[in-house]
Symmetry: C2
Subunit: 232 residues, 2 copies
């Protein structure tokens, strides 16, 4: 039943695993062969969703600009993750934009075919429900974090997220991401300067190691405890 592979060991089992072969066929799954280049937009805030996307390869950021012009990254989607389904389910326009952080390939599932499936397959419905629930949980957790945590804690959180989403290089142990400092700050909800300052603190304290663009987490336990305003 596996119709796409993920290279990432952390990926949860395939979202579509409950489907029968016919159902998968009925999906009219459309593979987007054009790869999105770094920076390219997949959809734009305000647009009307016509399909959902499944990330096949690469990493996508979902982001939004506040009225003050500051960008906030609300989510990172990696191989196996769904994209843009919230707005589609809600019959809303997109609340945020999605763009490729690195070279990305996607599948597209047309709206009607998605809804059809929900109506016909209770197990699939339940999966969608669980997915939404999980996202809601994450979002509410992040809400708390943003309000209550200090810059130091937020940056630690962000680094842990990168570690999870991008994984590390087998050899160098560096996080497999080429995010800029600004983008890391946009995830953490913090300015670029504060992000840099905090990261260089972590560097000095031997929690991470910075070599140019590459970031190596040398003491993940300490980083985790930094992320949870422990008095330590």
């Amino acid at each position: 039943m596996q119709f796409f592979k993920t290279e990432d060991k952390n990926t949860h089992k395939c979202f579509f695993s409950s489907l029968t072969h016919e159902q998968v066929m009925s999906l009219k799954l459309e593979r987007i062969d054009r790869t999105y280049k770094k920076g390219e937009f997949i959809f734009n805030e305000g647009a009307f969703p016509k399909a959902i996307y499944v990330v096949y390869r690469g990493v996508v950021k979902v982001h939004k600009y506040g009225e003050n012009g500051k960008e906030q990254i609300t989510r990172l989607a990696k191989a196996g993750d769904l994209l843009g389904y919230r707005s589609l389910l809600n019959d809303d326009t997109y609340e945020a934009s999605a763009s490729a952080i690195e070279q990305t390939q996607l599948f597209k599932i047309p709206k009607d075919s998605f809804f059809e499936l929900i109506k016909q397959n209770p197990d699939f419905s339940l999966k969608v429900i669980k997915l939404l629930s999980e996202d809601l949980k994450q979002s509410e957790k992040k809400l708390l974090d943003m309000v209550q945590k200090s810059v130091r804690e937020k940056v630690a959180e962000a680094l842990l997220l990168l570690n999870e989403k991008f994984g590390v290089d087998e050899v160098t142990k560096a996080i497999n991401s080429k995010l800029t400092r600004k983008e890391i700050g946009d995830i953490a909800g913090v300015t670029t300067e504060s992000t840099i300052r905090t990261m260089s603190e972590f560097n000095k304290e031997n929690i991470i190691e910075i070599q140019g663009k590459s970031i190596i987490i040398t003491d993940i336990e300490k980083l985790k405890s930094e992320a949870e305003n422990k008095v330590a």
Copy 2:
């Protein structure tokens, strides 16, 4: 099909309206006759959910304490709203606690009867999906607000929320809530003192009118524009 009434005109159409009579019967809906008093807990963070609740009368706050001890109110549920379904759907323990803000009556729907319904009734599933989607949207919006908005904007948001959730007194036009300043601050994600200061600013600027505990929004348009960091 209506098995509970809400007095609030703003309430959306009943969540269970897609059900047939038999399905409603199958719900084993259990009315909790004991009314929860102001301050009483309905469920506690960390507990294992066994049912979902439907607010029949009153207002409930869902809230959580950060590691620093500061409280954050993540949601207000009024008549017609569902409570505690996210954790139940996810098979998680509660992430937050719920307690009555004013005298509250509830219905209880047992876990298995809820899941049964999802499996058997595609329309109902779709409703749950929409509900989750809407909550997710709200949560993501609130996330942005919290990170990017100033105290003034956050307090304005909070007041608008109160207005929506509690409604106003027909005669006096005061918001029908007896929340303390601290609680308003906990909604806004702001200290009590800042909340008071901001509200008294709004008072001076004739955006709201404060008479002891009661708050009257005199210029809702202005308040709305305050909530959206307009340069105005």
